[in-house]
């Protein structure tokens, strides 16, 4: 009995999504998604435009509008299916947006302090200053968040906020789109370093697959027609998608290997 419990704890998934069915504006977007994520891994999420990748990310983070018709989302053993965004954030889920909003009046420094749990009057520590500098954002601290930021600057600001939040699960929505090569390398390396140094995991949505160059990922998941199909080796999955398309990829991968 004791052995069994130990075994269970050791194998506990960070995130368990069970038969999740999600509607947006009365239309079923995700029909049946089941997914288990372990800690300390990068997971890649593929899927054609409109397949519901962002909806899936939003459903994990709790960002409406969407409606969970059935199924559930369990994070660190807690059912979070009906929890509000800030509760999920406090439990350790965070999201790096594809198109973060511009907010006039709130400076990058303000939001970074919020992520660090600091008061607005507090100062950054030397280590924090170093990381801000590594993200090439020192000159942006006093600017309104995302207002007039380039694509690369936005992505760097998003990822830096996550580094300061130190979440257990990082949901990254297309971190490699609309971003210059140098910024991509920088954020990808920082994400990898973060995963290496913590017990955290990432779920990364990518279209172009560029980020695969810089991070180590063992698992990929393809969302197609409301269902998900999970495979090992994201690079190979991506090559097949490029060659034969999403549908073929799913069919072909199914023939050659077991799902994880």
């Amino acid at each position: 009995m004791g052995v069994l419990i130990l075994h269970k704890v050791g194998m506990m998934n960070m995130l368990e999504v069970k038969d999740l069915k999600v509607k947006v504006e009365n239309k079923v977007i995700l029909d049946s998604i089941s997914l288990n994520l372990k800690s300390k891994e990068n997971y890649i999420l593929f899927g054609p435009n409109g397949s519901g990748k962002t909806t899936f990310i939003n459903a994990i983070m709790g960002i409406k509008p969407y409606e969970v018709v059935s199924g559930k989302i369990v994070f660190m053993g807690k059912d979070i299916t009906r929890k509000d965004v800030d509760e999920r954030s406090k439990l350790g889920i965070s999201v790096g947006f594809q198109n973060p909003p511009e907010i006039t009046g709130i400076k990058l420094a303000d939001i970074l302090k919020v992520c660090l749990g600091k008061d607005s009057m507090d100062k950054f520590s030397e280590g924090e200053k170093k990381l801000i500098e590594a993200f090439k954002l020192t000159a942006f601290l006093d600017r309104d968040i995302n207002v007039g930021f380039s694509g690369g600057e936005r992505k760097r600001a998003e990822i830096l906020q996550m580094m300061f939040l130190k979440p257990k699960l990082l949901l990254l929505d297309e971190p490699d789109s609309g971003v210059d090569v140098e910024s991509l390398r920088l954020i990808a390396c920082e994400i990898q370093r973060f995963v290496d140094n913590t017990e955290s995991s990432t779920l990364i949505v990518t279209h172009k697959g560029d980020i695969l160059e810089y991070i180590k990922a063992k698992y990929a998941c393809v969302i197609l027609e409301g269902k998900n199909h999970c495979f090992a080796d994201p690079k190979r999955v991506f090559e097949t998608i490029k060659k034969s398309g999403y549908k073929e990829c799913v069919a072909c991968q199914k023939r050659v290997e077991e799902e994880w």
Partner: protein
């Protein structure tokens, strides 16, 4: 109340109220302080460090001391403008005379504190401010009210003269009571290469404020900026505008307003730029945030051009806090309520006021307190 030369002789309750609105009762960081309580000036003093740079006294004393003050007396504001100016012209209780001497630079702010402590009182003041040629000064004025004063009203005439090459940055912080009627009547005249920055901050609930200060840019290259941060709540009525008349060659005007309305506030935000010179420029910006269905914002931007070559623009936008912004910040570990306060606080951007760092921090602190209390 008797006149005093010692701040310590001012009743403690008055000092305490003053302190809450940013008046530095220790005077350490101030170049001068003036207290006008009810119908009399009880204290005015210039910090030793600023003697020879600034003159500060009760308007009555100035009228006795300087016969030439006639040239500045009722020259910008029309006595017959309305019942309030007429009341002040018939009988006024003092006010302050402030003169920044030629070519001096005052980087530490002056403070003046007008206070009402009696119920039903109509406080009537007449202020004269002269920034002499080549001078530069930042001034903070706080108007506050003792909590015991009910149903009071404040009428204030201010005539401001910015001489050639002078720069005057004048910040007014109003903290009147929920039952006070407030009618400031101000006008400014700006000469060649003069700059007048008028900052107005109103964060506390007030019964009714109506004001429409006018700046007349007669000088070549003269500039005026009107910046306002207005937080209307608890059924406050704020009818606040500003007008710039651009007569001088290359004269410029800028007006920036941030208005937040909630809890039944009525806000009428006006701005007029009247361009009468072929080389004048102006820009007017008003952003409003309405937070409930009980409140009201009416933004009235007006642009007038009288000569070819006049360039005047405006932007006005009233909106709500976007749900996308709220959710974004909630993913950063903040509750919905915390996010709304943070966005409201951010909206009241003190950065628009062109204040030096120390003063900006101080005003920021006052805005922080107001945002926290909301």
């Amino acid at each position: 109340m008797v006149k005093t030369n010692e701040l310590t002789r001012i009743p403690h309750t008055i000092l305490e109220e003053a302190y809450k609105t940013g008046i530095d009762t220790s005077e350490d960081n101030r170049s001068g302080t003036l207290f006008h309580v009810d119908q009399s000036t009880i204290y005015s003093k210039i910090n030793e460090l600023f003697k020879g740079k600034i003159e500060l006294m009760d308007t009555y004393d100035a009228l006795h001391k300087y016969p030439w003050i006639d040239n500045y007396w009722w020259k910008l504001v029309d006595k017959e403008k309305d019942e309030f100016t007429r009341n002040v012209s018939k009988n006024f209780s003092g006010g302050y005379f402030m003169r920044i001497l030629p070519n001096v630079e005052v980087t530490v702010p002056l403070q003046s504190c007008l206070m009402i402590t009696e119920r039903d009182l109509e406080q009537r003041v007449h202020n004269i401010i002269i920034a002499e040629e080549g001078s530069k000064a930042h001034i903070i004025t706080s108007c506050i009210q003792h909590p015991v004063a009910d149903q009071a009203s404040h009428l204030g005439v201010s005539e401001i003269y910015v001489k050639k090459g002078a720069m005057l940055n004048f910040t007014m912080i109003h903290s009147w009571g929920e039952k006070t009627l407030v009618r400031p009547r101000s006008a400014a005249l700006i000469e060649d290469q003069g700059t007048f920055v008028s900052n107005y901050i109103c964060l506390k609930p007030v019964r009714d404020v109506q004001m429409y200060p006018v700046a007349i840019c007669n000088g070549r290259d003269s500039k005026v900026s009107f910046n306002s941060i207005l937080y209307g709540h608890k059924n406050s009525v704020l009818d606040i505008g500003s007008k710039a008349v651009l007569n001088g060659a290359d004269s410029k005007a800028e007006m920036i307003t941030r208005a937040i309305a909630r809890e039944g506030a009525t806000m009428i935000v006006k701005g007029m730029i009247d361009g009468s010179n072929s080389n004048c420029k102006g820009h007017l910006e008003c952003r409003g945030l309405i937070l409930d269905d009980e409140s009201f914002i009416h933004s009235v931007p007006e642009l007038i051009a009288r000569k070819k070559g006049t360039e005047i623009t405006h932007e006005a936008a009233i909106g709500k806090i976007s749900e996308k912004e709220i959710v974004y910040l909630m993913t950063r570990n903040l509750s919905r309520g915390e996010v709304v306060s943070m966005i409201v606080r951010g909206f009241m951007d003190v950065g628009i006021m062109g204040l030096p760092k120390a003063l900006k921090e101080e005003v920021n602190h006052i805005v922080d307190l107001a945002a926290e209390g909301s």
